[in-house]
Symmetry: C2
Subunit: 176 residues, 2 copies
């Protein structure tokens, strides 16, 4: 028999292959990070793993399909990695599979959500202000944008929505 | 006596000036859109106005301060306006005082909020992707940006986060 960790965005679960030597050989020899589809029965584990959210159950494998084969991964997809930053950035899609990286994305989204809810419940109004503005000497000089469409107008990236915020204030919108 | 409409972001309420000829003259002759601070007593109206959220009450004026005087407004700050678009844009801070304009801002914010809540409750992850990217032949040519800081690098404004979304997908983030 063999045990393999099956992971997706929501966590990981143990897959057990029992009494099927052929399947053990095939499934057990898949390289790490192979994308698979598995069929099987979910049952209670005899030896639960309390450190895992899904540690009380396991999937007893019936059969599986390889959706996408994996070459040898240049990064170990674990929380701890000794990969150089350059390697991690080059293979960002693997780097972002590491649970600690996904936790950061999740934490960021959650933080934004909490801030938005707080502001909303305090009567703040969400207003989007223009990103491309007319270049000005102080406010928007450093990032000039050439619009390569039609008549090649030049804009600038706004560095701050200051003018728009002042306009909202004068327009009687106290919280934005 | 005289009656004046006092408005803020949340709505408007009637201010009544009674038994004070001096105050009637001063308060009643303020130009429209003057920014005032008023002191007075809130009381039930004898003739409630059911079409107004605050129609059951009025403020009986004690005294007031002009925070900011107003010249003759180039736009009538009402839902219906016959001002030309050019005039409205030139005096956008007055145009945005019109309740119908503020309703649109509110509706937009509410819509965004509802969409975000739906996506969040369905396990979507909010990820922000870069706005400035390396220029490429197809994806990001039309809007070239000259970064006027230091070494004048050239970037482009991303037209779509396609590559980043594909990277997230491969990284095992199914909903973003």
């Amino acid at each position: 028999m063999c045990f393999v960790d099956l992971a997706d965005f929501y966590g990981l679960v143990q897959v057990a292959v029992v009494n099927q030597p052929e399947l053990v050989k095939k499934f057990g020899s898949l390289p790490r990070e192979t994308l698979v589809e598995v069929n099987g029965i979910v049952q209670l584990r005899k030896d639960p793993n309390p450190s895992l959210a899904s540690g009380k159950v396991e999937i007893v494998l019936d059969n599986f399909t390889v959706v996408s084969a994996s070459a040898l991964s240049p990064i170990v997809v674990e929380n701890k990695t000794d990969a150089l930053e350059e390697v991690r950035l080059r293979h960002r899609y693997l780097d972002l599979r590491r649970p600690s990286m996904q936790d950061m994305l999740r934490f960021r989204a959650k933080t934004l959500s909490v801030i938005r809810k707080f502001l909303e419940s305090n009567n703040f109004l969400e207003v989007e202000t223009p990103i491309l503005v007319r270049p000005s000497i102080e406010g928007a000089a450093p990032y000039l944008v050439e619009a390569g469409v039609e008549n090649k107008e030049r804009f600038a990236l706004a560095q701050s929505p200051q003018l728009y915020k002042q306009m909202l204030m004068v327009a009687g919108i106290p919280r934005y």
